[in-house]
Each structure stands twice: as structure tokens, then as C-alpha cells.
């Protein structure tokens, strides 16, 4: 398929701005020391604003536009009914400070979602407060720290991470001032011997994604858990790849003490072009006393909020979390049910293994064994033609395919990380494989100059960073200088 994205030379709204000053009489009610005299914002007819953003939307690619196999991001179809539910005034126009007697509906949704997520993840309790996966990690590490301090283990300030870990794992640990010990992988898996030597009296936690970012299930997870627990360390599960194991196993069953869940991945709440997400955190009993406040309660009749939690870590964001996102996840779980969620894992894993099978004779897929929900191919052989993975990725756009994740994880050279998800058909998978195979045989120049059919040609990201212009103001200043 040849794809042609819409292309408009759409001006900036700021370019259509006319200078306006505030009528002085308007401001008499504003304290004299604070009156504002100019406001350089556009003043356009409504329909022109709508056209502007409609055109911009047509220069944007979403799951509804086409295949979006972005590895580690689980870009599956976002059901429309969840969007309709989120727009109901009973969801949208509810204030979080309302008396609990007036918000029994949403409290029930959140309470039941907690229960469902606890069952799915094999954990004893769940907090819905974190706004995203990375904030879930931050919350989980705060919980681990509170647990250590409470047990006189203040010396535990080290976090162990495999070299395949997501960047957020490192950053979340760094934000809390923990030292990081990075473990090199062995054959695409955690090196259990190296782990045994790495953990000790200063280890707070091991953070692990399983299946890992190569899509490989860490088969020695039981031994990994034993080693960490014997050393007195906790086990943190990065739930980015939970989609692969729904109903097959769970973080709790594997021995993890803390897990976050990305609702915008496994439970298909739309990612909004960057956000919102939600990052619920599940814990085993031992960590329950430290969960953020308030805790949702249910006495068999009424849902309530409990604030009196002396050991709680406090709060990580205002109020109760991204409630409208969480409600979508709740609706999705209801619609799938136990049977549907298990089929999710079946199809996601089948699709990934099938696609790997189709690709691996053309681009190597390093490391032995099965894959779960994703696989990482290497664009290394293309280098001989003077082409990089980035060029392949850009060329895929011309076929109407959003490129997979590229250059991650770092231990695969010229990495191309493909996660098809369960909602794609065999026809779509075959079209992707055919496109990749065909591209590897195309004229290298066609790749290096790609994309040809997107709204713009190859974007110069180096220039953007060399002279950052982040606003109309900065642009006007730069022009003036």
C-alpha cells in the first residue's frame, strides 16, 4: 500500500495574531499592582480555529490511522465505548473534593478496578494514585524505601537493574537518590550468577521487566526472586509488558513484591499523543501500610476514604489519580472478562512470534528461544548498503506503517523493537513483513531520503536541539537577535 499523509502549509496561530491592548476600564476590579495591559494571543473566528486543528489532526498518525507496532508501548485498538463513558457528565463534571456520599459511583468504579488489578497482578493491594508508569515506579521505590526504613534497613540505597531495563527505571531510582548497579545480560536474559554477586545488604530492590524488553521471558525468575529475597532485597515488577502474561502467570505469582501497571498499555486507555496514562501500583501485604493516602474503603454498603495511615508515604499527586483514564480501564476489563483477557495474551504472543518468524530470515533477531509480546530485530546487516535502522523506519512510513521503536534496547545493535499487539489481523502482520522485506531490497537512496509521503520530509532534529526554539516568544527573540 502506498500511503499519503495530508500536508498543509498550516500557519501558526501566532502568525495570524493582531496586536491588541486591554481596554483600561475593564481592569478596575483587578488589584492595581497586578493589572495586565497586553495579552498577545490570537483572536480568530471559531470556525477558523476548528479548521486549523482539524488540518493539524490530519497531519497526525494514530492507531485509528494504521498499524502502530511501537515496541514496549502496546498500541492496541482503543475501544470507542470507553470514550463515550468518559464524556458522561457523571464522570467528567465531578469534583474530587465532593462529599463521599455524592461520589459513590466513581468510588465504586475505582474500588472494583483495584480489586480486578490485584487479581490480575497477583498482588494483595493496589493504589490507583500514580499518574503514569514512571510515577508508578517512583511510588513503588518510595514504598520500598519506607519499608526498609521501617525495618531499620536504612543502608539499603542501591537499586539493581538489568541493562535491558526501561530508561524510566534508572531515572526513577535516580530521582530518589539511589545508587544504581547495572547488570549486563547474558544471552538476552538476566545473568543469575552476576545477580547473586550484585545483591547484598545495601540492595533495596531489583527492578525487572518480565518478559523483558527483548520480549524474552526470564525463565529463571523463581531463582531470581529467591536470590533477592535471601539478600533481604525487594523485587519490583515493571508492568510495561504485562499484556504478554495475562492469565498465564502474574507478578505476584512470580515472587514480585511491588508492581506498576500501565493502563495505557495493557488496558488500552488511549495514550493521547503523549498522555494521559495511569500507573496503578500493586503490592504484597508487607508493603500495604505504606501505600499513599487516602485508601479506598468499602464496608459492604458505602465506599469511603481513609486518611489515617501513620506509615503512609503520603501522596505522589493531587487527589486520587487519573480517574477518567482509570474508568476506561475498568470498562475495558469488564468487556474482556477473564476469558477475553486470556485471549489477549494468546493473540499478542502468537502475533509477535509469527511476525518474528516472517522477518528473521531478512533481519536477524538475536537470542534464542520463544518471544512473548514483542521481538527485537537488528538492522545491522543494512549497514553494508550504507543504510541504518533509522532509514528503514522512516521508509516504513511511506507504506502507511508507524515505525517500531528504534535503537532500544541498547544491547541489540541498530535495534528495531516490534510489538504487534493482539488486535491486529494476519493480513496486517503480513503487510508489515512484506514491507520490511521489500524495503531491505530497495535502493538505499530511497531509504536515506525517506519519508516521501509523510506531511514533511526527514526532520532535522539536530538543528532543533542546537538552537532550541520552544515558543513564539523565543522565536521572535531569535529573529530579532
Amino acid at each position: 500500500m502506498t500511503y499519503r499523509q495530508a500536508r498543509y502549509d498550516e500557519p501558526l496561530l501566532c502568525e495570524r495574531m493582531r496586536p491588541s491592548t486591554v481596554p483600561k476600564g475593564d481592569l478596575l476590579d483587578v488589584p492595581a499592582s497586578l493589572r495586565r495591559e497586553t495579552l498577545a494571543l490570537p483572536d480568530l473566528p471559531e470556525h477558523e480555529v476548528v479548521r486549523h486543528y482539524t488540518r493539524l489532526s490530519q497531519m497526525n498518525f494514530g492507531i485509528d490511522t494504521g498499524f502502530y507496532p511501537l515496541g514496549s508501548c502496546t498500541m492496541k485498538f482503543n475501544p470507542k465505548f470507553a470514550e463515550e463513558l468518559a464524556r458522561l457528565p457523571d464522570m467528567a463534571r465531578v469534583h474530587p473534593e465532593q462529599d463521599p456520599s455524592t461520589v459513590q459511583g466513581i468510588l465504586r468504579v475505582l474500588y472494583e478496578l483495584q480489586e480486578a488489578l490485584a487479581r490480575i497482578s497477583g498482588m494483595d493491594a493496589v493504589t490507583l494514585q500514580p499518574a503514569a508508569g514512571a510515577q508508578g515506579e517512583f511510588t513503588g521505590l518510595l514504598l520500598a524505601r519506607a519499608h526498609a526504613l521501617d525495618h531499620g534497613d536504612g543502608a539499603r540505597t542501591e537499586v539493581v537493574l538489568p541493562d535491558t531495563a526501561h530508561g524510566t527505571n534508572f531515572a526513577s531510582a535516580g530521582m530518589l537518590g539511589f545508587q544504581i548497579r547495572e547488570l549486563p545480560s547474558k544471552d538476552g536474559r538476566m545473568d543469575v550468577k552476576a545477580l547473586e554477586q550484585a545483591v547484598g545488604e545495601t540492595t533495596l530492590a531489583l527492578m525487572l521487566t518480565n518478559p523483558n524488553t527483548l520480549g524474552i521471558f526470564e525463565e529463571e525468575v523463581v531463582e531470581i526472586a529467591r536470590i533477592c529475597h535471601d539478600a533481604g532485597a525487594l523485587l519490583y515488577y515493571d508492568g510495561a509488558n504485562l499484556n504478554a502474561i495475562l492469565g498465564k502467570t502474574s507478578p505476584g505469582r512470580m515472587g514480585f513484591d511491588i508492581t506498576h501497571i500501565n493502563t495505557h498499555k495493557t488496558f488500552t486507555t488511549p495514550h493521547g499523543g503523549g498522555g494521559p496514562g495511569a500507573g496503578p501500583v500493586g503490592v504484597k501485604k508487607a508493603l500495604y501500610p505504606y501505600l499513599p493516602v487516602p485508601i479506598l474503603t468499602f464496608d459492604g454498603k458505602r465506599y469511603g476514604l481513609e486518611w489515617d495511615r501513620p506509615k503512609s508515604i503520603g501522596k505522589v499527586r493531587a487527589w486520587f489519580g487519573n480517574a477518567a483514564v482509570l474508568m476506561r480501564a475498568y470498562a475495558y476489563i469488564l468487556s474482556q472478562g477473564a476469558d477475553g483477557l486470556e485471549r489477549v495474551a494468546d493473540r499478542a504472543v502468537l502475533n509477535a512470534n509469527y511476525l518474528r518468524h516472517r522477518i528473521q530470515d531478512h533481519l536477524p533477531v538475536p537470542f534464542r528461544g520463544l518471544r512473548k509480546h514483542e521481538f527485537v530485530a537488528s538492522g545491522e546487516p543494512l549497514k553494508a548498503k550504507g543504510v541504518r535502522t533509522l532509514d528503514l523506519a522512516k521508509r516504513l512510513m511511506d507504506y502507511g506503517i508507524h515505525p517500531p521503536t528504534v535503537y532500544f534496547p541498547h544491547l541489540v545493535e541498530e535495534a528495531l523493537m516490534v510489538e504487534p499487539t493482539e488486535t491486529e489481523s494476519k493480513e496486517t502482520l503480513d503487510a508489515f513483513a512484506d514491507a520490511v522485506i521489500r524495503i531491505t531490497k530497495e535502493d538505499p537512496e530511497l531509504l536515506r531520503s525517506a519519508p516521501h509521503n509523510a506531511s514533511v520530509a526527514r526532520v532535522d532534529e539536530v538543528q532543533a536541539a542546537r538552537e532550541p526554539i520552544l515558543s513564539w516568544r523565543m522565536w521572535q527573540k531569535a529573529k530579532g537577535a
Binding site: 491588541s20 476590579d29 465505548f81 465532593q98 512470580m254 469488564l334 477473564a338 502468537l350 514533511v456 513564539w472
Partner: protein
């Protein structure tokens, strides 16, 4: 597909999961049809009493503003909402330009040079601003007002845990409800990294002496702003702020029971490389045409890892797009009209409540925006209860968090309220036994 893989059952694809950790299915009900899900969830949510069903006078950082249908129509375009983070710039120009325009509008409102595409909410924006102030100055003390929402204080403490920042509170003047300048003078010291002030503050009061506060603070000044109020009040940048944060929900987004929201975050150009979060820059494509892309990514987690400016990855981008559309639909004049309307409504409602027996409003002297403190001569808990019985939700009770204010509550009003809503509230207040 199985045949191509040489397998006979899907189960074989899970052979790498050790039997000892295998679970047999999920302990959940079976799936439901779309129609049943819609019916079920709608009926549960009906147990909420939304601002549509019950006049609600809550604010405290989150406001029920009227959102033009055009804003929802654009934010519902699935090209926007079903996209991931715009890692691939060429396919994502629409999102990137919209977010760049959002950054531009926020910079104009705040008087800053650079804005990121969002933090999670105002409270995490405050946490991130404190960490940024520490990165810039190397100092550890953060001064915040006592008159601040308790969630923001708690979230700030969580963010401060890593570098061990010391959070100290500066009391408010009991007459004016604004920051006590003498207390601020006494609190600032050599180790002060930043002073945080909100304008309008938690009590809805304008901090009229921001310039004086700037001169007292030798450190960085972080200002928490309400983007609607900024349409008629001086840009914090023009008053000496170094970092401006705020809750952007008032711009085109629903209350959503507290999320998703938008943490506004903006700073001066000189501190740009110390700023957390995703930012969009302007550049050219291979043909020399204008194009947009994410930039300064070397500050971020996927490259800088544990030395990143923040761990943030997923943010609230779609909410920021809605905010930009909201600003554009209202325009400069519309935004100003809404701001003045909200300012006047707060004053008018306070005066009307003050006219009732047993109530004083506003408790603090001076200009207010959106909200104000009301004090009653009877226990506020019983006022709160009676209002609910009469089908109206009063303000936020302050008794447990600010006991020094006595029987007080924080009442907010916006353009969504009708004269009937006000009458309803006033009658209910009078009817309290």
C-alpha cells in the same frame, strides 16, 4: 499462523513460563457485550451527583468552567488521541505543532520563554520545580506558603525525598490572607533554593505584593498561577518569577474527579536545560520547510537515565492540546471576558453570602479570584450537611486543615453558575437550622 511456526497449540508459546509460576486463568467474571458494559458503567456512575445534577461551589485548584463544544470535538479526533508520544516527527506534525502552540500560549500567559508540554498536575509541577531549583542553585531549602492545598504539600514532600530538600512554611497574614512578608523575611536564608507563592492563593486572594516578595527572596521565585486569571493579571515573568507552574485544567478540560489534569511548567531561557519534561522545538525538514520535533531529549530519562532532569515519560499531552484549542477558541478577548466574569462573580457571591445572618464572606480583605473563605457562626459541618440535603454542594470545609479559621469553608464560583444556582445556595444557607 501456528502452522507457520511449526506448532499445534498456542499453549506451546508459553512453554517458557515455569510450571511453578503458571496460573490457571483469571479470577474475574466472563466478558460482557459492549451494550451491557455501557449500561452497567452508566448505571454505576449515576450514583455520582455531578455539577450538572447539583450546583457545586467547590474549587481549591480545580474549577468547573464551561468548555466550548469545539474543544471537545478537536480533542476527540482520534488522530490525536490514539497516537503515542510523537517519537517519529514526520508522522506526528499535527500533535507537535499543536503542542508547540500550547507552549507558546503558556509562555505568553506566564511571561516565560520556555514551557514544557505538561507535568501530571499542579502538585507534581511544584515537586519538579523544587527539584529544578535545587539543580540550579545547589541549595536545599524550599519555602512554601502555609496557605496551600494539603495535597500539594504532601506531593512536594515526596518529590523532595531524593535530594533531602527542607520544606518550610511561611504563614499568611490573618487579616489579608496573603503571604506574611515579615515571616518570609525571617525564613529566607543562605540555603534557600526557592520561594513558592501562588497568585491567586489558596484562599482565592490575589498576592498583591508579588514585587515586594520578589525583592525579599534572594533565591529563585516559583509562582503558581491560574491560567484564566493570567488573562487579566500581570505575567509572573514580568514580576520577577523564574519558574511558573499551575493547574491548566481550567483551560478546556473537565474536572474528571481529579484527573487527568495538566501541570503547567514554564521557565526562563537561561534555565531551559535544567527543565524537566518533554519539549517541542521548531526546525526544518530535508526540503527546508518548517517542521516540529521533540527536542533537548538529552535531559530525559531514555537518554540521560539516572541523571535525567526527571523520570517523566507519559505526560498529559492531550489535555495540553485541549488547553491550546480552548485558548484559541476563546481568543484573547474571550479569555479576558471569562477572567473578569469569574473575578466579579466571586465578589458578588461573597457579598450576597455576607448579607445573610450567621455568615461572613469574604473572611479576608482584598481582591479575590474564583473563590473566597466563608465563616459561619454555627458549626460548618452542619451547614455542609444541610446544603447537601437541599441539593447543593457547598464549599470545601477547612476546619481540620486550617483550624485557626474557625467554622470556615472555601467557596468557589465560575461562569457555569446561573442565578437560580445562587438563589438555591443562598436559600439553603439560610435554611440551616
Amino acid at each position: 499462523m501456528l502452522r507457520a511456526l511449526g506448532l499445534t497449540s498456542v499453549e506451546e508459546l508459553f512453554a517458557d513460563i515455569p510450571a511453578s509460576v503458571r496460573t490457571q486463568g483469571l479470577d474475574l467474571p466472563q466478558g460482557m457485550s459492549e451494550q451491557d458494559v455501557m449500561r452497567h458503567v452508566t448505571s454505576i456512575l449515576r450514583h455520582n451527583r455531578s455539577a450538572e445534577a447539583m450546583p457545586t461551589f467547590l474549587g481549591a485548584g480545580l474549577y468547573d468552567h464551561f468548555v466550548p463544544a469545539s474543544v471537545r470535538a478537536i480533542a476527540s479526533r482520534s488522530e490525536f488521541y490514539t497516537a503515542y508520544t510523537p517519537y517519529q516527527a514526520e508522522l506526528s506534525q499535527g500533535m507537535l505543532q499543536s503542542l508547540w502552540e500550547y507552549q507558546s500560549f503558556i509562555c505568553e500567559l506566564t511571561g516565560m520563554d520556555a514551557a514544557n508540554t505538561s507535568m501530571y498536575d499542579a502538585s507534581t509541577a511544584l515537586g519538579e520545580a523544587a527539584l529544578m531549583a535545587h539543580r540550579i542553585t545547589g541549595k536545599r531549602q524550599i519555602l512554601i506558603p502555609t496557605a496551600l492545598h494539603w495535597d500539594k504539600k504532601a506531593v512536594l514532600r515526596s518529590y523532595a525525598a531524593g535530594p533531602g530538600l527542607e520544606i518550610e512554611e511561611v504563614v499568611y497574614d490573618p487579616e489579608t490572607g496573603t503571604l506574611d512578608e515579615d515571616a518570609l523575611r525571617a525564613a529566607v536564608g543562605e540555603d534557600t533554593a526557592a520561594v513558592y507563592v501562588e497568585n491567586p492563593n489558596f484562599f482565592g486572594r490575589f498576592e498583591e505584593e508579588l514585587e515586594e516578595i520578589r525583592s525579599i527572596a534572594p533565591s529563585l521565585l516559583i509562582v503558581g498561577a491560574n491560567p484564566i486569571a493570567l488573562a487579566v493579571t500581570k505575567a509572573p515573568g514580568d514580576l520577577g518569577a523564574d519558574i511558573v507552574i499551575g493547574e491548566g485544567q481550567a483551560l478546556g478540560n473537565a474536572m474528571n474527579f481529579g484527573g487527568p489534569l495538566i501541570g503547567i511548567f514554564a521557565c526562563r531561557q537561561e534555565h531551559l536545560r535544567k527543565m524537566p519534561g518533554r519539549v517541542i522545538g521548531i526546525t526544518k525538514d530535508a526540503n527546508g520547510d518548517r517542521a516540529f520535533c521533540m527536542t533537548l531529549q538529552t535531559r530525559e530519562q531514555h537518554i540521560r537515565r539516572e541523571r535525567a532532569m526527571s523520570n517523566i515519560c507519559t505526560n498529559e499531552a492531550l489535555m495540553s492540546v485541549a488547553a491550546a484549542v480552548h485558548i484559541a477558541v476563546l481568543g484573547a478577548s474571550g479569555l479576558r471576558r471569562v477572567a473578569l466574569d469569574n473575578l466579579r462573580r466571586a465578589k458578588r457571591l461573597a457579598d450576597r453570602i455576607d448579607g445573610l445572618d450567621r455568615y461572613t464572606a469574604p473572611v479576608f480583605d482584598g481582591g479575590h479570584f474564583n473563590e473566597f473563605v466563608v465563616r459561619s457562626t454555627i458549626p460548618y459541618a452542619s451547614v455542609h450537611r444541610t446544603l447537601l440535603e437541599k441539593g447543593v454542594h457547598g464549599g470545601l470545609p477547612l476546619r481540620t486543615r486550617f483550624p485557626e479559621l474557625g467554622e470556615a469553608a472555601l467557596f468557589a464560583t465560575t461562569e457555569v453558575h446561573t442565578e437560580a444556582d445562587y438563589e438555591h445556595l443562598l436559600h439553603a444557607l439560610e435554611a440551616v437550622p
